[in-house]
């Protein structure tokens, strides 16, 4: 517990406390633990876990490979489907994906630890820098990928495997997208996101150009003139506005910026946090921000969500994690007004809400929480600048089953597409599948025309 001084302060904790608080959430399995955990897998036929995985990793096979002392082969099985299997092992909400589908739940209410086993195998392969893929003969084709996040990296890797040259344009200083800037620190320690980028790029044939933003530094038509195809893995660059009075007071911050700053900080001691923090929102970002606020030494951290527990996007596991770290989660509260004193946040007034006739309404009752720091995690938005005539719907890019947009030679995937699931693993699947589609189309175009008699 750090200082209880009011205000947004850095250095609330001792270096030892920062170190402890931001260490690995789930320590890696050692060999013995991995063998015990892998023994529990039944090697199901047409396994439900595999079906539940957006990237369709052959989970029974990779676990059996671990259990027989072949972690390298296991990693190969994982990377075949998901080249970012290392990060997914850390950040996937496995409790709502593969592990929820595990048949062990039926009889024992305790699934095989698929996520941790995946990390075990991928860690070994990455530590030994075992590369499993070789580039095909050069095709002479060049593809532009916009965004070096999970979708873009997965797409670029698969394209490189197929023998194409790839240039990734990314607006940020570092590649990795949300893996680098958006994941809670304790889920990706030891600069794992950058290590993974390096591992992916080792295939060769992929060039990353940083600080290159669509619409500012280049246009889509530029890319279409220089490249044979374009993949848009833009992610969600915008955030929703609160639309509440006082939003501009000092101490109101976007949770994504807060999380990004934390990730980029080496010691965390330089990250300022309030004494009483209110986090607005009900998703993973809200939980990540709230937990880390607590870990930075905030005395009180409260998540306010405008609907009920059952409506929260944060998984049960994430909610429990927040509770375990001392975060209070309050439901049916919607921000009405930021109370400022001397231009700084002093509290927040909230409306009580309920659902009437299927619609969320305020009940008329209000309450006030004292706060010196408000973090907004009320959703991110897609910034469509520079996309021109590409068809959007509900503010996202419309794609077909293969990831093709309405514009010829342009594919898209990840959070920026309609129906995106805000999941790293889904972004990987979409990037990978778009690469297959791009490859298919480019290969067909290079076939010599068959004479019709």
């Amino acid at each position: 517990m750090g200082t209880t001084e009011t205000g947004i302060l850095s250095g609330r904790l001792s270096p030892v406390e920062y170190e402890r608080n931001f260490s690995d959430l789930h320590p890696p399995l050692d060999e013995h633990e991995a063998l015990v955990a892998s023994d529990r897998c039944y090697f199901c036929y047409d396994a439900p876990c595999m079906t539940a995985c957006p990237t369709s990793i052959d989970i029974p096979l990779f676990i059996r490979q671990i259990s027989t002392g072949n972690p390298i082969g296991s990693a190969n099985t994982i990377f075949d489907q998901n080249i970012l299997g290392g990060m997914c092992a850390r950040v996937c909400p496995t409790e709502t994906l593969c592990e929820q589908a595990c048949v062990r739940n039926e009889a024992e209410h305790r699934p095989v630890e698929i996520g941790r086993l995946q990390r075990y195998a991928t860690d070994i392969a990455m530590r030994e820098n075992r590369q499993f893929y070789q580039r095909a003969e050069p095709t002479g084709k060049s593809i532009a990928v916009i965004g070096a996040g999970p979708a873009g990296l997965a797409c670029a890797h698969r394209l490189a495997v197929k023998g194409h040259d790839v240039v990734i344009y990314d607006a940020r200083e570092k590649a990795g997208g949300l893996n680098e800037y958006g994941i809670a620190t304790y889920k990706a320690v030891d600069d794992f996101a950058q290590a993974e980028v390096d591992y992916v790029l080792a295939i060769g044939g992929i060039e990353i150009r940083n600080n290159q933003m669509l619409g500012r530094d280049f246009s889509l038509s530029d890319l279409l003139s220089k490249h044979d195809a374009v993949f848009l893995g833009l992610g969600l660059a915008g955030v929703n506005a609160l639309r509440a009075e006082g939003e501009t007071a000092e101490g109101v911050e976007d949770a994504v910026d807060f999380i990004a700053a934390l990730r980029q900080s080496a010691t965390k001691a330089d990250i300022a946090i309030g004494r009483r923090v209110v986090v607005l929102g009900g998703g993973m970002t809200a939980v990540d921000a709230a937990v880390q606020a607590k870990l930075l030494g905030a005395e009180e951290v409260t998540i306010c969500y405008r609907r009920g527990k059952e409506h929260m996007n944060a998984s049960e596991f994430e909610q429990d994690l927040a509770a375990a770290k001392g975060v209070t989660i309050r439901h049916w509260l919607q921000p009405k007004r930021i109370i400022a004193r001397d231009g700084k946040v002093a509290g927040i007034e909230l409306d009580y809400t309920s659902i009437t006739d299927g619609r969320l309404t305020t009940t008329g009752e209000t309450g006030v929480l004292t706060a010196d720091h408000v973090l907004k995690a009320i959703g991110q938005t897609f910034e469509a600048d520079g996309l021109g005539i590409i068809t959007l719907q509900s503010g996202r890019i419309v794609v077909d089953a293969e990831g093709r947009t309405s514009l010829d030679r342009v594919w898209a995937g990840g959070d920026c597409v309609l129906g995106g699931e805000d999941l790293t693993v889904s972004a990987v699947a979409q990037g990978r599948d778009a690469a297959e589609s791009i490859n298919h189309v480019l290969a067909a175009a290079s076939q010599p025309a068959v004479a019709v008699a």
Binding site: L35, V36, D39, R40, Y42, F43, C44, Y45, D46, A47, P48, V103, R104, E106, A107
Partner: protein, 437 residues
């Protein structure tokens, strides 16, 4: 409370659980601990003849195979008989027997196949007050190369000869320990009986190589890069032992010959199975070597609880009860028809029954029903083979259900015949046809 007192060829012990002749019974220290833990008797680690004792290897003596969670399933060893001085052993045996008069103490013996060798050791053993002797004709390594152990046990004439000497030179009951490394276990058992043995005990360990080191290409356990076959024991050998016990129990020539059952006994249930297949008591080794002597408490209480539940009062009530049900294949009732049934409430939908049946058997289990993952037996395809039961990870989820006489077997389109009929009279049996002609 069931009465577990055991009387095996006149040797009395408070329960039927003896420790087999092996490392756990090599010296007074261990045996005292075993008796304190509750073991009914011990067969002391095999004694050799007077003189410089045998030597053991100085590297690893054991190899193993494991199941899930590194549960030891099979153990092999290349240890020899006791490597302690004969008189040290005899002195300790005498003292232990004095300390524990209610427990059985048996001396295992292996000396060269010469009358004088046996004639000279037997009085020494008798003097300790031991309750009986067990002839080690089973040890498959080391000693067999010197013409002892399995080298004797594999030649029925030798068995008969040595047993005869022993019966001649001692008043102690003689238990002949048999090796499984033979073609037909009934032959050595018959020979032992002809020689006048009081009982047989089986099985000794099985010739085995448990594993090979894939870095060094040496069999395990590896002694300086080389390995030798060792004697295999533990839970994995139980089915082989049960069959051999049953073969002797139901052989008309050895029927009624007392049997001390050995081979992979790990729980009370294993022990009960040996007893009902004709063993008069059981001997345990690997389970004790895996978990320590305390396991006998589980065996005693488990056997007792089962007997109480079933209304069996004494061991005589259960010994040999399954023997009449051990038959030859040709006499099995071909009109008995069973089908697998899957308890849908217990099913966890792992799909292993389906893939086992689909890939390797009779394509009789669904994978999807009405578009949903659902595993159900198709009775018109099910031959009742039991594979699905055995691969299912959930106990009692899949069971075999016998069809009542008169019920339609959807696979054959015939109703179940109430009459017993076997292969000997089956129309497809060429020998049955010949007999009918």
């Amino acid at each position: 409370m069931a009465d577990l007192r055991n009387n095996f060829v006149g040797i009395k012990s408070p329960n039927p659980f003896w420790l087999a002749s092996a490392p756990p019974t090599d010296k007074a220290y261990n045996v005292e601990r075993a008796f304190k833990a509750g073991w009914g008797g011990v067969v002391w680690k095999t004694l050799g003849e007077e003189g410089p004792p045998v030597v053991n290897v100085n590297g690893p003596r054991y190899g193993a195979i494991w199941g899930a969670d590194r549960r030891l399933l099979g153990l092999n060893n290349i240890e020899l008989i006791t490597d302690r001085d004969l008189y040290t052993n005899l002195r300790e045996m005498k003292q232990v027997k004095m300390n524990w008069p209610d427990r059985a103490l048996i001396a295992s013996i292996m000396v060269p196949c010469e009358e004088n060798a046996w004639k000279s050791i037997l009085p020494l053993v008798e003097e300790t007050g031991a309750d009986g002797i067990e002839l080690n004709f089973g040890c498959p390594h080391g000693m067999s190369e010197r013409g002892m152990g399995a080298a004797v046990g594999q030649v029925p004439e030798y068995i008969e000869m040595v047993v005869r000497w022993c019966k001649q030179y001692t008043r102690m009951p003689v238990i002949t320990k048999l090796t499984p490394n033979i073609t037909d276990v009934r032959k050595p058992a018959r020979a032992a009986k002809s020689g006048g043995t009081d009982a047989v005990s089986l099985i000794n360990t099985i010739n085995s190589i448990t594993s090979v080191n894939l870095d060094t290409f040496s069999p395990e356990p590896s002694i300086d890069g080389k390995g030798s076959h060792g004697g295999y024991c533990g839970p994995a050998v139980k089915p082989i032992a049960l069959n051999m016990v049953a073969e002797i129990a139901r052989d008309p020539e050895t029927y009624g010959l007392p049997i001390s059952g050995i081979g992979g006994i790990t729980t009370w249930r294993d022990a009960a199975e040996f007893l009902v297949l004709g063993a008069g008591n059981v001997q345990v080794c690997t389970a004790a070597m895996t978990y320590g002597f305390k396991i006998v408490e589980e065996m005693i209480t488990g056997l007792s609880a089962w007997m109480d539940t079933k209304g069996h009062r004494t061991l005589d009530d259960i010994c040999g009860r399954a023997v009449p049900n051990v038959s030859d294949w040709q006499y099995l009732n071909l009109n008995y028809i069973a089908k697998a049934r899957i308890d849908q409430d217990a099913c966890i939908k792992c799909g292993r029954c389906h893939i086992a049946c689909e890939d390797t058997s009779h394509q009789a289990i669904t994978q999807y029903v009405d578009g949903k993952r659902h595993f159900e037996v198709m009775e018109d395809e099910c031959v009742g083979c039991n594979l699905c039961v055995n691969v299912c990870p959930v106990q009692d989820c899949i069971t075999m259900v016998g069809l009542e006489p008169g019920v339609l077997d959807e696979r054959t389109g015939k109703t179940v015949d109430p009459n017993y009929a076997n292969w000997t009279t089956h129309p497809n049996n060429p020998m049955a046809r010949q007999a009918a002609e």
